[in-house]
Symmetry: C2
Subunit: 248 residues, 2 copies
DNA sequence: TAGTGGTCTAGACCACCAT
DNA sequence: TGGTGGTCTAGACCACTAT
């Protein structure tokens, strides 16, 4: 049924390995929306691990909103296509896969400028889905990175490789945390160019802020403007404990 | 040091009891920002429970962004004041507490209208912080609820009691899940009335959608418009496993 | 009744940080 | 070196769902 096996020798935690496998199968349609993924006991026996470890892996899927656990029934794939993981713009490729779309990146600006702490890479990308005719762009992503920290970064082709992929593979830096601020951006020449004319739209939702790695070192300043055609859903589920309101 | 004790007889899970206690102490300043909460082993010994249970409680705080765990150092309070829990509008009171502000609710509309499935309660509230002079309103919250499901709901005073508090205490309904859509709302008579004139602001961020209870029954339709003076931060932290981008 | 997820125990070993 | 959080095992009992 599956050729997949966990590797206890791998430094990657077992729950992460299992999580990645399950996530992959959900995104590629092996476990379609509405269906149950294998039960916790089944995965425990299949992989020879504890149910605690299985539950840890599944809990990551739950917190991502990819599955829902229902006692007595099972763990059901409840993929809500455009959810708050959109904020995690690093995951645009995964997002595209789940939409069964091919991601397209167009680099609008890739230049080196002098910043307060030395030269910086200014990278402006339009990201969207491929179509038969012209691509549909869904967001407009502006990044600023210190070249003193990432020497040579300005030479990569960011239409072929994602920024985070390059950072991970060539600079061994993985973004771990972001602090974004939401605002409303006005229409501009750039938004008209990327999203087209949007009559009746007073502005665009914009998330801007900083991204940090596991050592709390600044990775990039970023600003993402979202297309109005991207229906952004913010799904929140909280257990009985979380976010109950208490009388004032 | 603490008079607090977990009650194993309570049907509330132990990890939820501990979570609530820790959360309370963080919000009221017992554990100030930057300080560490007690270590996992300390809480294990103090309450006579397993470290697994302690970790379960702490993991809820982590997913809320209230604390950050650093190996070798401890679990530090890293309260980021205005984070994505703003979306969980049910938690406005908690949010106010963390800001060391007193929450104020002004009911703008409370009326019964005929809806597609019978009479509905239409509730429009401005919510904000109390000041010495006039309150500062931070959001504009419109709710629609079916009166056939919540008979008598139209008689409550929602300036004194929160909607979710009433639902929980009088109808035994607890919201568990929401599905919100983000959009940009235009300035209107209502926003001018509540937020005042906002020159240069093209629109307001608006989250609208539905809220469900644990049985997936619809609780309310809701729409929340956020004041531009509310700096909305969306903090995301993902472990090495979550949201890594894969080459396209 | 059999199977599912929900909670909890009582350990173990490890990597990392402070001293 | 001692304490912290990170991972994992091997169970147990429960509540709920399907049949």
């Amino acid at each position: 049924m599956t050729e997949f096996a966990l590797d206890p020798q791998d430094s990657t935690p077992l729950y992460t390995q299992l999580y990645r496998d399950l996530r992959q199968r959900i995104l590629d349609g092996t476990y379609p929306e509405g269906d149950a993924i294998p039960s916790e006991t089944a995965m425990r026996d299949l992989h020879g691990i504890t149910r605690s470890t299985v539950r840890h892996a599944v809990s990551l899927l739950v917190s991502e909103g990819l599955v829902r656990q229902i006692r007595g029934k099972g763990t059901l794939v409840t993929y809500t296509p455009i959810n708050h993981s959109v904020w995690n713009f690093g995951g645009f490729t995964d997002f595209s896969k789940a939409q069964h779309q091919r991601p397209v990146t167009k680099v609008l600006t890739q230049s080196v400028e002098e910043g307060p702490r030395g030269p910086q890479l200014l990278l402006v990308r339009a990201r969207g889905f491929a179509n038969d005719d012209a691509p549909t762009y869904l967001n407009l992503d502006t990044s600023v990175l210190e070249l003193s920290r990432f020497p040579g970064l300005e030479r990569f082709d960011f239409e072929r490789h994602s920024l985070y992929q390059v950072l991970r593979e060539h600079y061994e830096v993985a973004p771990v945390r972001n602090e974004l601020k939401l605002s409303v951006a006005l229409s501009s020449e750039l938004t008209r160019q990327v999203f087209g004319e949007q009559p009746g739209v007073p502005g665009f939702i914009c998330a801007s802020g900083e991204v940090y790695d596991s050592s709390d070192q600044l990775v990039e300043h970023t600003s993402v403007i979202y297309s109005p055609s991207l229906e952004m859903h913010v799904g929140t589920s909280w257990n009985g404990a979380v976010n109950e309101s208490v009388p004032a």
